[in-house]
Amino acid sequence: MDSYKLEQLTVFVENRTGELLAITSILEKEGISITSIMLADSSEFGLLRLLTPEISRAKEVLLGNGFMAQTTQVLGVRIENHIGSFSRVVRILGWANIDIRYTYTVNEKNDGIFIFKVDDNLLEKGAKALLDGGVSLIKHEDL
């Protein structure tokens, strides 16, 4: 199941002008491409979630520039472009009593990739439930 665990980078972002630009500029300068990006915010601060092919280098350069960054494990599923396909995934996880902490998408030409965060101790169970339900889980190299 381990091969289905995707690594995502979470970066702490202060609610301050120019903060996001500071992060993206660093990655740009280092030539690190961003596959997907999602900003979760509270009124005070945000958490930026990134998918990138060069996860450990991205983490290193951000830490080196004084940012707080951490890798997190998530699941990714490929979803066909028709009504109900996303619902199906959510339903499978629901049946398995697995809460989705958050979700975001990676854009592809036709299909969509949805990234799911579930509690760390439920990752294996979630991956198995999805596979059993016939959902196509993606691996790091598929991104």
């Binding site: 995502q8 979470t10 702490f12 202060e14 979760a40 915010d41 509270s42 005070e44 601060f45 958490l47 979630r49 004084g66 940012f67 707080m68 960054a69 951490q70 997190t72 902490r101 965060k117």
Partner: protein, 431 residues
């Protein structure tokens, strides 16, 4: 019209009264409080060596830390069965400072506060809205007891709840009010916003304000918007609470009840007594209190002292409105806070570092305290909820321990500006 004959004593009569009371107090503390016996012995001074008021200079100072070191009752000079009231303020190391009053001390307290109410012309016909914090803080109950003793009707409205305060003020017909100057202005602002006609809807004619520094501009502004006389009240719990000094209508300097609280002004650096009129730190010796007599207490407040006669006829010395502090204490909406207290509270919370910055701001007329705290890298996590919980925990802990509302901002590690490697701890943007 003064409340007590001591307020108009001639200079020599006052000095001899002070000397008698001082000698009696020194005898008492020397024999009843081990701390004073030890500190006098170490300074090689016996109470018998104090033969004049000037000799007081030979005695060592008492500091806030001494109260903490003898937490809770170590500096009390009477057995607990004689204590009728205990008050306390927040402490630095989690331990608060504790003060105790005998029935005799309560009489003194109500008397000295009463003197200031009398300066404002209050009589039994007045209704006082006591918008000062009740509870462990000496403010609310100090005013309350004195007003009650003078048969003034007291509305114990305490602090906050601005709209309700305005409703009470109008419907109960208060003629006088107490509180912090910033709250008085805030109250006026909300009154306007809520459609009150300040001069018509309220019967206020006088106010007693203190617990935080106020410029003369601010005092005039309060006087003007409310159409009231402004009386400033000075006090600190270690001495007695509010009522140590207060201003009459002839001057904005404050008459200090020096027949109870003997004042000196010292240079806070050299600790030498300064001549009359020079600016320095106020040091007070209580010369009548029984429960917690205190010798040469370093108030930390910067002021001047004058004995130039006042038009009101009182001969008591006057101190100028407090112009600053000799230490880093902050006054936030009337509550005293030391940065070290904030640090102590934060140090008990996991997940944050002790790299913090305290920012005092004005929001409207009220003080607002913000603390930026750098997160601990080990606490970095992918869950917004965890970080929000941490922020709430910091805020709740500061409120519970220091009685102040603080807005916590979690910031990234090493993001707080450092000067020469050291973070700048306090930024006061109020001035």
């Amino acid at each position: 019209m003064v409340l007590c004959p001591e307020e108009t004593l001639g200079k020599e009569d006052l000095r001899s009264l002070q000397l008698v009371r001082l000698k009696e107090t020194l005898e008492r503390v020397y024999h009843l409080v081990p701390f004073y016996k030890k500190s006098f012995d170490e300074a090689n001074i016996h109470p018998e060596n104090i033969k004049s008021l000037e000799d007081l200079e030979k005695l060592p100072f008492t500091k806030k830390q001494d109260l903490r070191d003898h937490y809770p009752y170590g500096l009390f000079a009477v057995p607990m069965d004689q204590i009728v009231r205990i008050h306390s303020s927040s402490g630095t190391t989690g331990k608060p400072t504790v003060v105790g009053y005998t029935a005799h001390d309560m009489d003194i307290w109500t008397e000295v506060v009463g003197r200031i109410f009398r300066m404002g012309g209050l009589t039994s016909r007045d209704i006082l809205q006591n918008s000062t914090g009740y509870g462990l803080f000496t403010g609310g109950l100090g005013f309350h007891s004195a007003a009650e003793r003078m048969k003034i009707a007291v509305i114990p409205s305490s602090t906050g709840f601005t709209s309700r305060q305005l409703l009470l003020l109008k419907d109960f017909g208060a003629t006088a009010i107490t509180g912090t100057p910033s709250f008085a202005l805030h109250l006026a602002e909300v009154a306007k916003a809520e459609g009150y006609d300040i001069k018509k809807d309220f019967k206020l004619r006088t106010g007693f304000f203190g617990a935080e520094p106020a410029s003369s501009g601010l005092k005039e502004e309060i006087s003007r918007v409310w159409g009231i006389d402004y009386h400033e009240v000075y006090g600190l719990s270690e001495i007695i609470g509010p009522g140590v000094a207060g201003s009459c209508k002839h001057s904005d300097w404050l008459h200090i009840s020096e027949d109870h609280f003997y004042p000196e002004i010292i240079d806070p650096l050299t600790c030498k007594t300064l001549p009359e009129g020079e600016k320095g730190e106020l040091v007070i010796t209580t010369i009548t209190k029984h429960g917690l007599p205190i010798i040469r207490y370093r108030t930390g407040d910067i002021t001047r002292l004058t004995r130039i006669p006042c038009k009101c006829g009182r001969t008591l010395a006057r101190i100028e409105s407090i112009s600053g502090r000799s230490d880093d204490m902050l006054v936030i909406n009337g509550v005293n806070v030391f940065p070290s207290q904030i640090e102590h509270v934060l140090s008990s919370i996991g997940g944050i570092t002790l790299n913090y910055q305290i920012i005092a701001k004005k929001k409207g007329h009220l003080d607002k305290l913000e603390v930026d705290v750098e997160l601990d890298e080990s606490l970095m996590c992918d869950d917004v909820g965890v970080l929000e919980k941490l922020k709430k925990e910091c805020e709740r802990s500061l409120l519970n321990n220091l009685y102040i509302n603080v807005a916590i901002h979690l910031v990234a590690p090493k993001s707080i500006a450092r000067s020469e490697g050291k973070a700048v701890r306090v930024i006061d943007q109020r001035r």
